[in-house]
Symmetry: C2
Subunit: 208 residues, 2 copies
């Protein structure tokens, strides 16, 4: 599809934009024509931000979250509880959990989930480094905050067994009826779990 | 919203991406994290394509379409009928009309429509240059291919009167029932127009 729009800079911009997920050729063309109508500064800033993004973003040596320094702001923050590690699949999960403000411990970003179908084994994600962190001591609890999918469950089981010999409590985030969802439309598996894992009324409803 | 994601390169990439139309902060974050997972080359190519886009795209001196040269490929193509000019609002309209392969003449890109509400008058768009092109002679027909909106109609009327003294046929693209649309759901104005502007059966249905 070369030289489609009578201008090779436009062509290559459209081609590159269309490689992004969820952006088709029509949207890519719309975005490119939008940039052409805007001030040159905007394209310059966007282009440079994208180039810098991949060049300059580093990953925390300890938790593998994105970071500007060798150790990220969360790991180096003395007011966070360093005895609790929340294990997540990716960087976005860290952002989402941080936004809930319900976790004041540290994180460990696996960078994926065990998925034999996709050829991803335990050695391909950051499980060894998690085990080392726990082995170093000082960790009381590891919270597994993984997707409620087969891959998430597989990974959780693997980590649970891997940490079995360590003196650490391993917990899993609660599964149950989604807040705002009607019981009628909740699937049986979730409903069953939510009954099994019921909590004292006061834990859920009492104002703290 | 500074320093939201614990990494300033990520922050600025998200901020810049979120300035694009139709891309909110959530999508911008998704795109940025996607780029972080890809090969560094992809971010480099995307960033450079965006910077080059605004720097290198030129506009045709004659028709104001985007172009690599001073005169665009359509204007300089000897096999196109230079006696017919199709007047459009923007570059995207040229691409769309070219894709229909039903116009073999030249174009004239106005770069907008007259819109008193937005403070855009006839002097703000490329109407003077259209009048000069027509005054230079050799033009038999000017096709107004503008939106069927108040702004499009205003602009069409203005151009029609502006070219009234010139020896040129001014035509307007047909309005009527959209191909594929049911009559029941066609608005009255369009339906009325489509009856007024009815065409001989053979013109529409005979295989050429």
């Amino acid at each position: 599809m070369e030289r489609e729009y009578a201008s090779s800079p436009l062509d290559s911009a459209v081609n590159e934009l269309a490689r992004l997920p969820g952006i088709g050729r029509k949207t890519a063309l719309r975005l490119a024509l939008y940039l052409l109508r805007q001030d040159e500064m905007q394209s310059l800033q966007l282009g440079e931000a994208i180039i810098k993004l991949r060049k300059e973003v580093k990953y925390c040596r300890i938790c593998h979250n994105i970071s500007e320094q060798e150790v990220c702001e969360i790991c180096s923050n003395p007011s966070r509880d360093s005895s609790i590690i929340c294990v997540v699949e990716n960087v976005k999960d860290v952002i989402n959990i941080e936004n809930t403000r319900s976790h004041n411990g540290l994180y460990h970003v696996l960078g994926g989930l065990i998925s034999p179908m996709d050829g991803i084994g335990p050695g391909d994600i950051e499980i060894d480094s998690l085990a080392s962190r726990v082995a170093q001591g000082g960790i009381k609890e590891v919270i597994l905050a993984l997707s409620a999918t087969m891959e998430g469950d597989t990974t959780a089981f693997y980590i649970f067994r891997r940490l079995a010999s360590a003196d650490v409590k391993v917990s899993v985030i609660a599964r149950g009826v989604q807040v705002g969802n009607e019981l009628e439309y909740t699937d049986e598996l979730t409903l069953g779990r939510s009954i099994m894992n019921r909590t004292p009324f006061n834990d859920t409803f009492s104002p703290k």
